[in-house]
Symmetry: D2
Subunit: 363 residues, 4 copies
């Protein structure tokens, strides 16, 4: 199988680096173009990017020349790790020019015909790409988004509970510094400290999940009818967003039924067989003090959401803790999985990936 | 004025050290006896205690000999920093023997006739000492307790709102490692990590506040009729417990009324003029990202509670953030303030303290 | 190939856990027995061990029953992760009983006929096992040790420079908390702190390298004639020991010659083809601010030593920085590599491992 | 006594904030002007400065308007917390215009006629101000500098040993993040990490001490004839620079003589009676694991240098550990002490400070 060329917008930033790291040995995709800001354009990637992940960038990427944001791209698939301001209007322009754009930027998430995709929970939202192409007169182009990183452990843990009727949700987060990018949070602000504020985050956590957990009716998304409250905090941890969740469930399932719903959750075909799909999207941990951010953020290669401490909540009925890796599951990893879904569903032109056998699970 | 001799039980532990540090220049009290476990008894304090606070222990204390737990104490006032298991039965024995015991141990907090004192918010609960003495046949002895350290920012921020009718409260904490004592939390468990579990803590946070915010009816405490939910987390910070609070208020005050209630809160006489009372028990911060644990834990010499980010909560009506220093306001400092209240109210025999002028405030 | 059964002494501790993690998919060895203290013996491993590494212990190991220290072991190969006090006399007893013991304990490192093995640099010291067997009347048993974890980056970076004549060495370390085991360093001692003292460490760093870098003369080790000075510090990092090294080299090589010596260093056959041998034992990094503890400790799966910042030293001639993963390269990983060397050299009875092709390198 | 007006250049930065904090209740000086960059000029200080120290800025300062760098200043005394690039040429211009400038900037430290003052160790270098005024034709103006923050624990611990003949010095530092200013070090670079590189630092540590420990011969400074080697590392601690020092002493004093030299060191009159002078400039700690950064950085209100672990060094003869607070003793606090010395010696025109009685020591 010939691998598909992909381009990465914002390739020198912290999330851009995760894209490069996760795509290093990807079975379907091959990084062919790296795109950066004016400051980086024209330079060797290895010189332009201050690599903030462990180790060093892959040699093959380090030697690439960074392209400017207005370059004509040749890759059919484009991943966007752009900051919000830079995403406008380039993401829509690239989609209009025929590229399939899978973005991690927040800019276009709530645009009506842009699916806010999370394959395990709303793969059918991919139908919105047909609406998008029809409305906008695109043939090969598309724009799909993944959610905010703090929302990830929330919706991954709530999706299996939708069958019980999710009506009220209270979320309090502890978020890793990598969520703010690089250089992001000053060490003087966060060492031996917590900051009970993350700009713009609470508004997102109170709205985006309703679209993600909504229903595609053939023309658009009918949002979930539930009330959400979010309080967001920055914590002195490198990676991993932890949420304390209280939830009201209409059907009052037993705690055992809730746990069973999590453990048996897999998502619909072809999602479980996509290359980046974890063997188990939601893992319920029975230890009384888990999940813990450092010890569990890499579960399922950083693509599983770990849940624990389910217990009765005197106010809303149920409370628990959930954790996802914010720059893998909550950013680059999800955007890649979204693109895998599009490829598997035939949205990437004549590119025909070979799905791994469903039984070849990754842990 | 002759200072009153005090004894410290559990003097070599982390909270015991805070007692010693806070009493170093106390205008009323003088540390005369330090009591420790069998391992420490008989040794020089400076050798027996591994000092975990900044600097070194005061020389005068370092040279004292540690007494065993069963020693006959000569000090009228006894502060207890004992772990729960060690507090039984020694605290009641000492009170029965005529000592006034101000304890930070959790053991006897919920005993019917033991006041769970927090001077600014429930100074009238001191009347329970009369009940206690009458029932138990004590004349000079007494036992009063202070609350759990995580509860401190909760009740300090809720007390000024009692006038609006507090009916439902949701608390999610981020707690400092010093709350677990020394050696307490292993560094391997908490560096670059958060632990979403603190043993026994949630039960306390869901019950003790109802007693503290209750009403003394001459014979006992009528608990507050409200529902509380707590989720407790350990964070990699040294000192300071931060809580994200959502609250339902029956009378639906405006946000301005709530802030005004906090800023004007002082407690009743003689509390504001006690030596350890902060100038302002509750400080509302207007900055969007405050209070922060490291930057605000020492407000009011560690005795003020800092509150911020008051905003509407879609579920309960109001949400905010509150912070108290866990080993000062939430432990030793509060036990000292409780003893000051007892002294000012005449419960310490013929010891007659000279209250500082109320206008001589500390910040 | 039938895998060889191995036993792990001290299997529930932090280093014991690293042995289990590193042996999970080992091509030659299979964990057959886990041995613990009286507290753990008889219990299921998963219950007895508080797993401190990421994730959870492998299921197959978690279900094993922990054996007591005096159990009769059936495994030909025994790894010891015992604390110093517990290693005496069990390690010698097991060797005398016919087991090959590869230990990480410090107890017997300086015993005359116990090789202090580090395959890349002194594989020929394995000959001391023949001396050992002859002197002690053993036929199949053996006892080999690996070095202290702080010494690892020192000797790995000095070994390639031996050709230039190493005469004086000054070492100042910054050591990870995991070097102290679990629970080890209290979080209250190390958060926002450094401790300029590690008990017993400086003495080891000033002596063990002279044996390791010494010459086997057929009967014993002739120690290197050099003067070493060490100052050891504990730092708030999880894993990875960093050393600032100044060194005097008799032959005054150029900086380029020193770098070339590091980059070309491989060790003698069969070491490069052993399963746990890194592709490159010593990696010289050209970036001005590397190696960094977090970013480079996992180089070569935690088995490579990263070196950087070679520059002239006004006092000794040369200075540089070196880094090794303390619980992989500096403990369990090295003990496993030592055992691989013994197996490849025929010291494990009739066990015949199949060396991977030398060209199949790992990075 | 009328307090002297002072201006602070670079008042909004991290060191500028320390000046403001330390001068809040200064007995001689009063902050009258705060000067900032173009971005800050014209704004209220409280709005322009992101306060990074604990708590909030003093109200009186918060309400001041920030002046631009080219404003005509009215304060006779000017403290400079400017970054190196911004210090040129404004510091010399202000001195030429008649202001006494006490700078923390590195720019002019090695200029021949600028004293690199550290009152306890080289108060006589103040004579260089007379040379400066004569050569440059200034009457009231002057420019004095304090040392780099990493040098502080080095020279404070070496100065008392000058009597024994200091000939060779090896320094390895662990430096706090606050040394890089704000925002300075990204949290993603330093959490769970150490960086073995601080730009430009080693060159300073190998040269500035030779000037500071030199002799004023009436016309200039005769530098100390010694060889210094420095290796600098950034550590995940907030404040406090720790150095591991090895030193060769010509006269081979006993360890007891060295300790006695430290403990008895006070500096010459009038230094011990200056308001910011610590009671004991150098404190030798006898505990085996001290000084520690967090626990000892505030010794003597952050103005004392803590020393410990004196022991023989196999290479240079003596080794020990030393610690100073980098933004107090190593920056703002030292610049203030320098200005106090100038005031006491009559270099501030007709301003006549009232020295505190020497016996009124601070600890």
């Amino acid at each position: 199988m010939q691998k598909l060329d992909v381009a990465i917008l914002g390739a020198t930033g912290a999330v851009g680096q995760r894209f490069i790291q996760l795509l290093e040995n990807h079975p379907w995709f091959r990084v062919a173009e790296v795109i950066g800001s004016d400051r980086s354009a024209g330079r060797r990637y290895g010189d332009a990017a201050r690599w903030v992940l462990d180790g060093l960038p892959p040699t093959s990427i380090a030697d690439m020349q960074v392209k400017p944001l207005d370059a004509a791209l040749t890759s059919p698939l484009v991943f966007s790790a752009l900051p919000k301001e830079a995403a406008d209007p380039v993401e829509f322009q690239l989609a209009a020019a025929g590229h399939v754009v899978s973005t991690n930027a927040s800019l276009n998430r709530m645009v009506d015909d842009v699916p806010l995709l999370l394959p395990e929970i709303n793969a059918e939202h991919v139908g919105l790409v047909d609406v998008q192409r029809r409305r906008r007169g695109w043939t090969t182009g598309a724009l799909v988004a993944n959610s905010n990183c703090t929302i990830m452990p929330v919706v991954m843990s709530l999706a299996p509970l939708m069958q019980f009727g999710v009506t009220k949700v209270m979320v309090v987060s502890a978020q890793a510094i990598s969520g703010a990018g690089y250089p992001g949070v000053s060490s003087m602000d966060i060492l031996d400290n917590m900051i009970p504020y993350v700009g713009g985050e609470e508004e997102k956590v109170e709205t985006e999940p309703l679209k993600m957990l909504g229903r595609f009716d053939g023309e658009g998304i009918v949002e979930l009818n539930a009330v959400m409250s979010a309080s967001c905090n920055r914590a002195p941890v490198l990676d991993g967003h932890l949420v304390n969740v209280s939830v009201e469930l209409r059907d009052k399932p037993s705690l055992e039924e809730v746990i069973e719903a999590w453990n048996s959750f897999r998502g619909h075909d072809p999602v479980p067989s996509l290359p980046s799909a974890p063997a188990q999207p939601v893992i319920y941990m029975t230890q009384q003090d888990r999940p813990q951010i450092r010890r569990d953020r890499n579960a399922g290669n950083g693509m599983s959401t770990s849940v624990g401490r389910l217990r009765p909540d005197p106010l809303l009925g149920y409370k628990f803790v959930a954790l996802s890796h914010n720059t893998i599951r909550g950013a680059a990893g999800c955007a890649i999985l979204n693109a895998e879904l599009l490829a598997a569903q035939g949205y990437l032109g004549d590119f025909q990936p070979i799905p791994r056998a469903a039984e070849l699970t990754r842990s």
